[in-house]
């Protein structure tokens, strides 16, 4: 949240700076806008782990394409999938795993082929100071510690269990959280000694959490696919937003939040 506010503040500053010397080239900008740039508004459904990054992506996209509005709707990928299947007015879907996207492809909801736009790895989150002296995945089998996982119904829970299985650890968790952010809240508050979340969540947690890397051999790489949706009322703008996320500039923004290029 802090990051997002900072990002918003930066954008305001940039906008103000632009406003000063805008007079000369505003006519030219208007001309190009009318010629070929998409206008109007779209709604992007994105996994909650993308909240901060996509907030900035949407703001930057709007800045670069005057006259466009990008509305964001964040939630668990599976919940968003259900909403789209039920006919929610979504133009673009960014999922935290491939299975939710595949279900939309099967239901003929996707325009073209989904593309993996970033990856994310798991990381152990511990409260600042690491009161439980957690050193690695072994801690997740320690019944004396307060241990949290995501529920196995959601992607981070599936990946977490895979990583623990790779490490040969039988989890002794005290809670199965509905999503990574909710797990992170309990780590931040110090009620959990360790939780298995995404690398990007640890970064978003700021100073109140510390990250402990999961060894590469045990870790699981989460792939995030992105696609424009066939029910979109503004296919041109939806495609332009997808292109922007995949562009070098979009990838830079995503990397600044800890995501890795695919």
């Amino acid at each position: 949240m802090k990051m997002r506010l900072a990002a918003a503040a930066c954008l305001v500053l940039v906008a103000a700076a632009c406003g000063g010397d805008d007079d000369d080239d505003s006519a030219a900008t208007t001309a190009t806008t009318e010629a070929n740039a998409p206008t109007g508004s779209i709604t992007v459904f994105a996994a909650s782990s993308l909240t901060d990054a996509f907030g900035e992506l949407a703001d930057t996209f709007e800045q670069e394409n005057p006259g466009t509005t990008v509305e964001m709707n964040f939630g668990a990928s599976s919940a968003l999938r259900e909403q789209i299947l039920a006919g929610a007015p979504a133009d673009v879907f960014a999922s935290a795993n491939t299975s939710n996207m595949d279900q939309l492809v099967d239901a003929d909801e996707v325009e073209g082929e989904p593309e993996v736009f970033v990856t994310n790895v798991l990381e152990i989150a511990v409260p600042a100071g690491n009161p439980g002296n957690v050193e690695g995945l072994d801690a997740f089998g320690d019944a004396a510690l307060n241990i949290g996982l995501c529920a196995e119904e959601v992607p981070c829970g599936q990946f977490g269990r895979e990583a623990l299985a790779n490490a040969g650890v039988t989890p002794a968790q005290d809670t199965d959280e509905p999503d990574a952010r909710s797990l992170l809240t309990k780590v931040e508050a110090g009620d959990l000694d360790a939780g298995l979340v995404y690398h990007t969540d640890v970064l978003a947690g700021g100073d109140s959490v510390e990250g402990i890397e999961v060894p590469e051999d045990d870790n699981v790489i989460a792939q995030y696919p992105l696609a424009a949706l066939s029910a979109s009322g503004n296919a041109e703008l939806a495609a332009a937003f997808v292109d922007f996320v995949l562009s070098a500039k979009g990838q830079d923004i995503l990397e600044s939040y800890g995501f890795a290029a695919p």
Partner: protein, 266 residues
């Protein structure tokens, strides 16, 4: 309460009828839509899953406990708000009904900061006794009570304010002590409000999701109540989620239908 007291043939003003009908349609149509999606053929099998019975037992235990705690602490609070005068009373009322407007997830986080292992009150408790509320059924009950008690307080306070205070005064002039007046006059007078408040409180606690998952976590058999089970089931298996919701609806109706006329139609 009895048939004799009901006014026969009370006919509502014409304008109210279509509006009431629309209200009914709006409130009932979603349930009909839910029923239409129920996977009837596999229902018995899904519901006999021990995870479902565990979650249901946990939900009922915590909702009734929250109701009991709210009665014990909420009725006195309602009395204080309704019958005493002191500076800052409006502020106090606003503060105690805050959980009604607070997003439950925020309420849950606030509970964590107060009663969690490192919380304001939770830390000294944990350091001395090793006891922690989160990840236990006590945490579930605490979260339910936090969110649901204001419903009882508001209802009972309204009842106390509209009760005829002359009866209390009469009892007092006849020599009844303050406790006697409260127990034998005030409480019976506001009994319908107390019942209505308790039922609202129970129903709110039964459906509680956000504060519970944020404060108490979610572990099958320990802290996973029906709403949490429904939410998680919805991630992978919509039919299972609908089957679970149906149980919750059925249980609520089984409790609410017999109660309403008996206690609420004063």
């Amino acid at each position: 309460m009895t048939k004799a007291r009901r006014r026969p043939g009370a006919r509502p003003p014409v304008v109210l009828v279509p509006l009431a009908a629309l209200a009914v349609a709006f409130l009932v149509v979603p349930f009909i839509a839910l029923l239409q999606r129920v996977p009837w053929s596999s229902l018995a099998e899904r519901l006999s899953d021990p995870l479902v019975t565990q979650a249901l037992r946990l939900s009922l235990t915590s909702a009734f406990s929250a109701m009991g705690l709210s009665l014990v602490f909420g009725v006195p609070l309602a009395w204080v708000l309704a019958r005493t005068e002191f500076p800052g009373r409006s502020l106090l009322r606003a503060l105690v009904i805050l959980p009604m407007v607070l997003p439950p997830v925020v309420g849950g986080a606030a509970l964590l900061f107060a009663f969690g292992r490192r919380g304001l009150f939770g830390a000294p408790l944990y350091d001395r006794t090793g006891f922690q509320l989160p990840f236990t059924i006590w945490g579930v009950i605490a979260a339910n009570t936090f969110v649901a008690m204001p419903f009882l307080v508001v209802t009972v306070e309204a009842g106390l304010r509209s009760a005829d205070r002359r009866l209390e005064d009469a009892a007092a002039t006849l020599g009844a002590g303050r406790w006697m007046v409260f127990r034998r006059v005030t409480l019976p007078m506001v009994a319908p409000s107390v019942a209505a408040g308790a039922i609202l409180c129970w129903a709110r606690a039964l459906g509680e999701f956000g504060a519970t998952v944020t404060f108490a976590g979610s572990l099958a058999g320990r802290t996973e109540t029906m709403p949490l089970a429904v939410f998680l089931a919805l991630q992978t298996d919509r039919d299972a989620a609908i089957a679970l919701s149906l149980v919750l609806v059925a249980v609520s109706l089984a409790v609410l239908v017999p109660l309403r006329d008996r206690w609420l139609a004063a």
